[in-house]
Every structure is written in C-alpha cells, then in structure tokens.
C-alpha cells in the first residue's frame, strides 16, 4: 500500500532520516515508534507530501508522492486521511460542518444525505449529538474523535495518525484504540500511526518500525510483542520495558 525506498529527509543541512526503506501492506495497522526527536513526525509528514524528501522514493497505492506536483498530490490526498496531533479542526465551523466539508466538496450527495452521513460518521466515533458544537466547546478527546470523523469522511484507503493518544487520559486513549481497531476491521482501512504510548502499541499494532536518532533510521521492525520479548537491541529492550531500567524506590523510607 505504501512503499518507502531509500528515503532521506531532514531540514536544511540537517539530515534526520538517512536511507530509510520499508513497506506498509493493505489492511495493516502499522506503527512508527521511537524516542523524541528521532524523526517520527518528519517521516509521517514526508510520506504524506508535506515535506519534500532530500532523496528517495515514496509511493502510496501505486502513486508516487511528489511534494511539488499539485495534480499528483490531489490524487494522493483523495486516498489518505490524516488525524493531526491537535485534531486541526477549523475553529470557525461547527463539528458537523468540519466533517461535511470534504463530503460536500468531493461528492454530489443531496443535502439531507450529507446530513445523515455526517451523523453516521459522528456516530462511528461516539459523538452523536455534538453536531452543532464548535471545536472550542469540545474536550481534547472529543476533538480527536471529531478530527478522526473528518479524516475518514471520504473513507480513504489509508489513515495516518500523528500521536493519537497524546494529551488523552488512559480511558479515552483506550477508547480511541478500540475505535481504530474497529474501523480497521469493518472498513479494512490501512492505518499508519506515530506514537510512543506502549499501551496503544500493544493493543493495536500489527507491525512496528522503531526509529533511532543516532542511527538516523530504522533499528527494529516486526511484531511489537516479539520485539519486546526477543530483541537484542539495548534501546528496543529499554523502550518496551521502561521499568526494568529504573531504580526501585526503597520501601523502607515510607512508614
């Protein structure tokens, strides 16, 4: 579904990712992991054509991503949906108008059908009844869900998530994971998720790649449970078992 070959990306002189190659298969939930500053978000933005790569080739569903070619990018954008870290809802429009925006633009549905579809989408993300709210009236978790409803308004083949659990409480975050799994199952959507929430990774990911700042590329690839139990790489082990490296608190100092 997505093919990244020999990709190098960065900002100006600074190369963050050096000759990275991987593939994402159809219907898969693919997670990009790594510590802070390792280039996870840069990789995501490069794949979706927001940043031009220094070298390398990216194809999405057979279409090469060319950041500077507007016509090509229009075709690519029809195939993908992106949930941004801050949800990026348009503040001047209600939740329903936000979700209806791409539907009105790209389909010829009559107005009452758009209304029903928007309610269906919002129902999918458990936001029924919030159609007329402005984004500023929603909580963080609700904004994320509304952002997700907008990202999948046209049922794209691939959904990208930039840190979907960031800033959410564990319960809301688990609900979002459940939603991701449900959408993947029912619609067969391919998902690419950037995250470092361990709980999410184990509950949703089919396959992960782990990036490292020093290696400027992928240091591990595979099933998260397998990597946790069998990886020989020190960083990968520490990432999946963060408690192991921590010093225990001496219980003796507490009464």
């Amino acid at each position: 579904m997505i093919r990244v070959k020999d990709l190098s990306a960065g900002y100006g002189e600074k190369i963050i990712l050096d000759h990275v190659s991987f593939r994402v298969y159809e219907g898969e939930i693919f997670v990009i992991l790594g510590g802070s500053g390792c280039g996870k978000s840069t990789l995501l933005k490069t794949i979706i054509g927001l940043i031009e790569p220094c070298s390398g080739r990216i194809t999405i569903d057979g279409q090469q991503v060319l950041a500077n070619d507007e016509t090509t990018m229009q075709t690519v954008f029809r195939k993908i949906g992106v949930l941004y870290q801050s949800a990026a809802l348009l503040g001047s429009m209600t939740v329903a108008e936000n979700v209806a925006l791409p539907i009105r633009e790209y389909t010829s549905l009559p107005e009452e059908a758009v209304d029903l579809l928007v309610r269906m989408k919002l129902g999918l993300v458990n936001l029924e009844g919030y159609e007329d709210h402005l984004p500023s009236e929603l909580s963080g978790g609700m904004k994320k869900r509304a952002g997700l409803a907008r990202a999948m308004a046209l049922n794209p083949k691939i959904l990208f998530f930039d840190e979907p659990s960031a800033g959410l409480d564990p319960v809301t975050s688990a609900e979002l994971d459940e939603l991701i799994l449900r959408l993947n199952r029912s619609l067969g959507t391919t998902m690419v998720i950037v995250t470092h929430e361990l709980q999410s990774i184990f509950s949703v990911a089919h396959r992960v790649i782990m990036l490292d700042r020093l290696a400027r590329g992928i240091i591990a690839e595979g099933n998260p449970v397998y990597l946790r139990d069998h990886s020989q790489n020190e960083f990968v082990k520490r990432f999946f078992n963060p408690q192991a490296g921590m010093m225990g608190v001496d219980p003796g100092i507490f009464p």
Binding site: G91, S92, Y106, T107, S108, L109, P110, E111, E112, A113, D115, L116, L117, R119, M120, K121, G123, L124, L134, P135, S136, L154, N155, R182, R185, S186, L187
Partner: protein, 381 residues
C-alpha cells in the same frame, strides 16, 4: 415474477416480487465515488412504482462502506411502510457488521432544517448593548491594571523588562521609520502641490511653506504616524497576545507568578510612548522636505526663503504639541492592541477579529482624541 429490468451497463437490477413489492439487486461497489449518482438513479427508477415492500439484494456487492449504508437509508425512506417493509438480503457478514456498528436500524433521514431565523431587532440591540457594556467594564479594569503596573514600575524601575522594551522600540520605531518617512514626504509633496495651485493665483507662493509646516506639525504628522503605527504595531500586538492566549502561554505566565500586564503590556506601552513621538518628529521633517521640493522646483522659491518662512510660522509649542499628541496616540494604540489581544477566546478566527478590531478601534480613538485636543487647544489657547 416479471423479468428483471436492467438499463444498459447499469449496476442495478429491478424486478417485481410475485407476492408484491419490488426487489433491487445492486452490483459492484457502493462507495463515496458513486453514492451520489446511485441515490439519484435509484430514486428515478423507483419513482411511480407501488413500493408495498422493498427488498435490496447485496449478493453482488464487492465493496461496501458507510456511503453504501447511506444509500440503503435513502432507499428505506422511499418505502411508505418504513422499516417493516424494507428488507436487506444476502448481505455478507462484513456488511452486516458494518451496518450494526453504524446503528443502521435507528438511522433516519431528517429534513435539513433551515438555519435558525436571526433574532429580532430588539434582541440584537439588547445583545449588542450588553456586549458593549461588558467590553467597557473590561476595558476600564484593563486601564486600572495598566496604571497599577506603571505605579509599580515607577517604584521599582528594575522590574521593567528592559530587553523586551528595547526590542519593541526597534520594531515600533526603527522598523517603522522608512514607511512613516515615505508617506510623510509624499503628504508634504501633495499638500504643497495642491495648495500652490490656489495660492499662486494671489502671488502668495511663500505661504505654501506655512501651510505645510503648520498642518503637518500640529495635526497631520501625529495622526498619519499614529495610523501607520496602529496598522503596523497595534495589529501585531493584538495578534501576538491573542495567539499567546489561545496557546495558554498567558495562563502559563500567570501561574508562574508573573503579572501578564506587566510582562506583556508595559514593555510595549513604554516603547510606543517613546517611539511614536520620535516618529512624529521625523514625519514633520520629511513633510517639510516634501514641501520644500515642490517649493524649489515648481514655485521658484529658494530653499533659504522656504525654510525662513517655515521657521517664522512655526512656534516651538506647535512642534511640542504635535509630539505630545504622538505620545498619547502611542499609548492609545498599545492599550487597544493589547486589550483586544487579551479578549481573544477560542481559535484562529478570534485572533483575526481581534486584530481587525484593534486597528479599527485605534484609528477611531486616534481621530476622536485628536478632535478633543483641538477643542481643548481652542479654549485653552
């Protein structure tokens, strides 16, 4: 059973059931790209038939997503008997699963309600009054907190954030000088040119110098400078504080124990109060220069005579009065800019409104304040 009807390469097959009712068999994909067309086509094909019941056969559907569910919901609306006379047959497990996730059974089309009629004149008038009163209350309390901060600064001059103040001085004053100079120069040029057309008839060319210098130093210099500063810096102040407000930076300052007014407003206020008078002075100089050029090249005056007449007309008081007005305008612009910035709530649109409102209110207040100054001068002088 009547033979099925198919229209060319149509993906629908419609037949009458022997026991009454209509059966629609759909082929291919039911997705976003064709949902709109399918809804229209099937609506036309089924119109006029007696739909005692409608059975939709999904056996030959390859791909089905929520746009497909939307189509089914629309078809269900066509059946007079409603849910009891609408049947879906041969749906795959994935389709049934998706329909249950979408709560298909409880979905219903609702008429798109017209937008709520706008409230009556009196309600709007009342709302606007209340809004302006609360605006005014906030504006007065904002002036109060600025005064308290200024008193604090006078007592503890070290608490003024001097680096920020110097930075703002550069942005308001130094960076604004080229545009202020250019516009004032052109104003002087235009005024001299326009007045010379009239004064030449009376052989009173030399009074062009008096007109340009007096009008610019007393009135137009401070006003033009203030309007330019309102457009450049007042809007920037509102946008800066507004953006800080929505990204919770102002709250962060507050919880760190800083007074946001002291931290964000006072440096800007001091910078504008110092730099707008200096810009006004430059504006006067460049306007006189503009007039001088017209005087020399169009009116055959000598530079000496023109400057001599300018010096004779102007009193020191006129120059200082203009500079003083510039200082007051600078304070007004900063006050309004920061005030609008602090009023920002919500998102990006609110920042835009605050910026617009900062510039419009500043210009209005500048003109209003200038009129007051003219009245004061009239009775005082």
């Amino acid at each position: 059973m009547t033979p099925p009807e198919t229209s060319g390469f149509s993906p629908y097959e419609i037949s009458e059931n022997p026991e009454g009712g209509v059966r629609v068999c759909i082929r291919g994909d039911m997705v976003a790209d064709n949902a709109g067309k399918m809804i229209n086509d099937l609506g036309l094909l089924l119109r006029g038939r007696s739909l005692s019941s409608l059975t939709v056969d999904l056996k030959h559907v390859n791909y089905f997503d929520d746009f497909g569910a939307l189509l089914l919901a629309q078809l269900r609306e066509l059946v007079p008997g409603g849910r009891d006379s609408f049947f879906i047959v041969n749906a795959s497990e994935r389709i049934r699963d998706l329909l249950s996730i979408l709560h298909f059974d409880s979905l219903n089309i609702r008429k798109v309600v017209e937008k709520k009629p706008s409230p009556g004149m009196f309600i709007r008038l009342g709302d606007a009054t209340l809004r302006h009163v609360s605006d005014l209350r906030y504006a007065v309390s904002f002036i109060g907190s600025i005064c308290l901060s200024l008193i604090h600064i006078c007592r503890h001059p070290r608490s003024l954030r001097s680096d920020d103040t110097v930075g703002y001085m550069q942005r308001v004053g130094v960076d604004g000088l080229p545009i202020v100079a250019l516009i004032s120069f052109l104003m002087g040029l235009i005024m001299a040119f326009m007045s010379s057309v009239q004064l030449e008839q009376f052989g009173a060319n030399i009074y062009v110098a008096s007109l340009v210098s007096l009008a610019m130093t007393r009135e137009l210099g401070p006003i033009m400078t203030a309007i330019i500063v309102a457009g450049r810096s007042g809007s920037a102040f509102a946008a800066e504080i507004g953006t800080m407000k929505i990204s919770e930076e102002v709250d962060a300052l507050f919880t760190m124990g800083f007074n946001p007014v002291m931290f964000l407003v006072i440096p800007k206020l001091v910078a504008a109060a110092v730099m707008v008078p200096i810009l006004t002075l430059f504006s006067d100089l460049f306007a006189v220069l503009g007039g001088l050029i017209v005087g020399i090249f169009m009116l055959d005056l000598t530079a000496g005579a023109y400057m001599d007449q300018t010096m004779k007309t102007l009193e020191l008081f006129d120059v200082f009065w203009g500079i003083f007005k510039g200082g007051v305008f600078g304070v007004l612009i900063t006050w309004i800019g920061c005030f609008r910035g602090f009023q920002v709530r919500g998102g990006a649109a609110s920042v835009g409104q605050a910026t617009t409102s900062a510039v419009v209110s500043s210009i209005f207040l500048i003109i209003l304040c200038d009129s007051l100054f003219s009245v004061i001068l009239r009775y005082w002088g």
